[in-house]
């Protein structure tokens, strides 16, 4: 069964540094997402991406964050000038183009980001 793959599985970064989290969505999917889960808290939506542009973003997704689909397979989340509170598990997801969002989102195993 096709899977969403994320790299690296664990990223340790000094506060203030930039970090890029990488994802390879399922190949025939057209919608891409990033979510994060701070330890012990709920999974929170960050951003959705369709047709090479952001379709929705949350209040969390401020100017510190950006997403890109640099080629036909990768989908990246860049976090600039990282802060301690950015430490979390970051999940990438993708979904098919269904009617009005009726298709399930399929998640990768996540990247654990630790800011020191």
């Amino acid at each position: 069964e096709p899977e969403v793959t994320q790299t690296p599985s664990h990223q340790v970064t000094q506060m203030g540094q930039e970090v890029i989290l990488r994802c390879v969505p399922i190949s025939n999917h057209l919608y891409f997402y990033w979510y994060r889960q701070i330890l012990g808290q709920k999974v929170e939506f960050l951003v959705s991406f369709y047709n090479n542009e952001i379709s929705e973003k949350s209040e969390i997704f401020d100017d510190q964050f950006s997403v890109e689909r640099p080629d036909g397979s990768n989908f990246t989340l860049k976090i600039r000038s990282t802060k301690l509170e950015d430490s979390a598990m970051y999940f990438c997801a993708s979904s098919e183009a269904g009617q009005g969002g009726n298709q399930p989102q399929h998640f990768g195993d996540g990247t654990r980001l630790s800011i020191l």
Partner: protein
């Protein structure tokens, strides 16, 4: 804004017994509802969804869920629990009124099935 409540942090059940994991939701329009399971050090794995139609939906690994519009609930059920069902379960909702794709998740319920 849409929201999901999972009132139980943990559910304990003996193997072979039926299990229920509760979920209630709040949306302005019609909901699309989803259940996901998370095993340790893994991502969220899709179990089942309710979009429209029959209120009882069946999913992977023998799980099913019942949509109740009047009670705004979408409880996850399984007739006979297995030890391997022990995991973290998340309910999620998408509000079809918003026109967006994002899922809003509950806080999760840990299911512990004892032998």
């Amino acid at each position: 804004a849409q929201s999901v409540a999972q009132p139980e942090d943990q559910v304990n059940v003996a193997e072979g017994n039926p299990l229920t994991v509760k979920c209630t939701y709040s949306v302005s329009g019609n909901p699309y509802l989803f259940w996901y399971v998370q095993y340790p050090n893994r991502g969220l794995q899709f179990l089942l969804k309710y979009i429209t139609g029959d209120n009882l939906v069946k999913g992977s690994y023998g799980f099913e869920a019942e949509f109740n519009k009047s009670q705004t609930s979408f409880h996850l059920k399984k007739p006979s629990a297995l030890v391997s069902d022990s995991a973290l379960y998340f309910c999620a909702v998408r509000d079809t009124n918003t026109g967006f794709q994002k899922l809003v998740f509950g806080t999760g319920t840990r299911l512990l099935v004892s032998p």
